[in-house]
Each structure stands twice: as C-alpha cells, then as structure tokens.
Amino acid sequence: AVTLSTYALMLGDDSLVMSHRIAEWTSNAPDLEDDIALSNIALDLLGQARLLLARAAKADESAVPPLPEGSPAPPEDALAFFREAHEFRNVRFAEVVNGDFAEATVRVLLFSVWRLATFEKLRESRDHVLSAVAAKGVKELAYHRDYAARWFVTLARGTDESRTRLITALDSLWPLWPELFDTHPVEAAAAEAGVGVDPASVREAAEAVLDQVFTAADVEPSQAPRRSGVLGKTGRDGMHGEPLSRMLAEMQSVARAHLRGQW
C-alpha cells in the first residue's frame, strides 16, 4: 500500500506541479487560442493530479500531513498544500521556471510524449483507480501532444527567430529528459506489483514519437548532456531545484493562512 501510495504521489505531483507552471501562462499567451489551449492543458493535468493525490491518500493514510482538528480540507488538498518541497516527488522537469512560448511548446511536448507513453501502459494497472486515470488521461495527453507538436513544427519552420528560440528551448530542457526514464525503487516495486509502469520501459516508445516530430520539424535531437542531481538524488527522491520551494510558497500561502478554512 505504501508502494502504491508513493507511486500515485509521484505521478500526482508531476501533474500538479506541471499544471501550476502551465497555468502561469493564463492571460500571457501569444494569442487567445493559445491562452485557452494552455489553460485547458493545465486543467486536464490538475484533474489528473486531484485523482492521483486522492489515490495516494487512500492507499496510505499516513502519507497525508496532519491538519488541525476542524480542518475540512480533503486529503488531496492536505497533500497539495501542506507538504514541504522536499516531500514532493515530482520529476525536476515539471518544476523548471517558465521561459518563452518556445519553452512552453517544448515543455508540453516532452512532458506529454513521456506521460502518454506511461499512461498507455498504466491503463493495464491492476489498480482500478490508476487504470481509470490513465484511460482518461491518454485522450487528454494525446491532445496536449498534438497541440505542442503542431507548434513545434510551426516554430521550427516559421522564422529564423522562432527556429532559434525553439532550439534554445529544446537544449535548455533536454538535460532533464533522461531523468524522466530513471527507475526509482518505488517505481520498480510498483511495476513489479503490476500497479505501476517502469519508466525505463517506455523510453523507446517515447523517443520514437519525438523523433517523428523532430523529423517533421527538421530539427536535430538535442545533444545537451544530462543534468546531474545532488549526491545522485533527483526529483523522485524529493531532491529538487530552487524554483520548487518558491512555487510552493506562493501556491500554499492562502491555504496555510487559514488552517481551518472552508473553500
């Protein structure tokens, strides 16, 4: 149960943190259609996060931070708003500070291609909640991927400036791509138990999809080397970059100011 809980937490934190970053684009996108599309992506991921965090809480109640008596916050909110940065298990990729629209394009493309490959397998999970989340998520993520892939090709083949920005963005995010396929012991155990997916097992599928997009865009795969962790630890271990604690300071500020608040 601890394995299932932690595994669901990992996936849920990815979605939550990524959703937060994408939502920061709201009212800032290059055009209304993109503002709407990015909000939509953020909303889908937020929906996934709620279900996944709720699953994590249910599988192991001890994972939920204790709140003062009288707090009506559901367990998924306790997880989102009352953990410290080092307790978050998201991959570092999800937390990176936003850049320009090319960066948003690459971010959504890489994340959704990776997550889609994972969810395609996770549909077979023995855990009915995870398999249901995955089944629904696959459709959402395919839309996210298509949206980002379209912009990836457009920017790559648009103007010199857009192509340069796109390649810069790809090189800036690529160092965190390999981490997406590292197998954490919890993920290995979850895969072993038939409830989760071993990230290493989806790398080939994910990279095959990316290659198609790169080819359509006439862009070479990035050569930027992997970003190392701290003493070998990365996001899945709770070892993050500096931006996460700042994000949480903002995200959690209202919830924490009202420990017994009803919302």
């Binding site: 055009d31 209304l32 103007t159 995200m251 500020s253 209202v254 009803q262």
Partner: protein
Amino acid sequence: MTLTDHAPDDVLERHFEATIARNDRIEPRDWMPEGYRKTLVRQIAQHAHSEIIGMQPEGNWISRAPSLRRKAILLAKVQDEAGHGLYLYSAAETLGVSRLELTEMLISGRQKYSSIFNYPTLSYADVGTIGWLVDGAAICNQVPLCRTSYGPYGRAMIRVCKEESFHQRQGYELLATMMRGTDEQRAMVQESVNRFWWPALMMFGPPDADSPNTAQSMAWGIKRNTNDELRQKFVDMSVPQAEALGVTLPDPELIWNEERGHHDFGQPDWEEFMEGVKGNGPCNAQRMAHRRRAHEDGAWVREAATAYAAKQAAS
C-alpha cells in the same frame, strides 16, 4: 440578388429601420447606417476588451487558490473569459475590423474596457465577489443584449450570458462556503463585498441624465434598457442574495421603498469612476502594461505562425 447589392440608400435605410422596428436581426451582409456600425464596433470591442482585461484580476489568484477544486474552477472561469473575448472579437470582425486592429486599439488606449477591472483583487474572497457582484452586474447588462438588433452580437451574448450565470452561481457558492468557515473568512468576505459593491454599481455607467448616447443606442435596438433601469434591477436582485449570504451591503441609504416597489440606494463616487475612465484608477497602468507585454512577447510567435502558413500555402 439580395437587397444589399444595388438598391439606393434610402430604400436600404427604410429596410434597415423596418427590420429594427420588427425586432428582427441585422446580419453582417445587410446594409446598415455608418453610425450604427461604428457604435456597434465600439461597444462590442469594449466588451471584448473587458473580457480580456478581466482575466487579470482573477488570474492573480490562480496560483494561490486554496484548494484544488477552487483552483480548477477559477482556471476554467478565466479560460471562459478568454473564450468570451474570442466570440466577441469574432462578432466585431463581421463588421469589418480585425482582432489585431482592435487589440492595438486597446493597447494604445484608444478603446476602453470596463473600469471595474481597474480595481485590485486583494484576497481570495474577491474571486467569489467578482463572480457574484461583478458577473451579476454584467449579466444584468448583458441579458437584454441577447435581443440586440445585430445578429452576431446577440448570438455571442447568448453564449456569454449562459456561462456568466454559471460563473455567478460559482462565485456566490464560494462566498457562501467561506461564510460557513472561520471568523477570519467571514470578515474577508465582508471586506471584499465592501470594496466591490460600489464599483459594481458603477458598471451600469453614469446616471441616465449624464448618458447622452443612450437614446440613439436604444432607438437602434443596440441597447434595450437605460443605465438607471439596469442598476435598479441589479440592486433589487442583490439585496436578498446578500441577506441569504449574511453580508451587509455597505450603503446606509439602501432601503426598500414600498411605494416604488424598488430599493432606494445611494450614489457611487462618480468622481472616482471618472478617474478610472481617465486612466488613473488603482490598476489601470498595471492592467495595460500586462496586456501590452503579453501582446509584444507574443509578436514573434504570431509572425512565425504567419510565415509557416505562407510557406505551407506556397508548397
């Protein structure tokens, strides 16, 4: 052959007026007086701009929403505002102006947006209050516009109003939930209502006596009610809602007038209103700078899309 193509102007004008008189819709290909077209463009554009600028005050709290459910509701609501902007710009485009032109009119300050959005959002309760009072006032303004004489505008308003009333209920529900919470939360709601009540009343525009364009707009069927009529309707509607919520509306003159069958109420500070219109409200500079920056930051993306489309078309 439609009537538009070759008929002389006076025939067209009689046809236009007959359509208005029948309460039928004017459609994009129909002849219309230049003044009608200009008034419509100005009004639809201002409405569209208001939706777009209106994303900012609420957007300010997306990153701090105190529960995942509220975060989803708020994000979806701000997204709907972008959607409303989209319908309305499309309606304006049927009158021969492009979205880009209108955006540039907004950014250069030549076209306005609703002054309400120049007020800051200072607590999460404001998300609820904007839903309840600001969207509530917007609905009072907009429901009659569903029957406006210009077809595309009227149809856009039908969609907008449907979503707005959903937002209004969500806002009210947030406030009701907070009122069941802690003392601090109740105080937060009351403080928020205190701040937004008067600005909400201002949303109906100056008193009829000071609103010279109302008569023509009503004659053309663009507008269906005067400012003061709508304001009265809003007050009458809000009083029982405030009671149900348990908040006080911050107007000592607010009282039921049995004779009129309406509430009497005080006047908002029209001087502060005019400062907002002139650009000197608390957040005008911030709102405009935000929109300008977003538009400018997006320029290279829009250029890339245009260049790519041209290459695709050529190949």
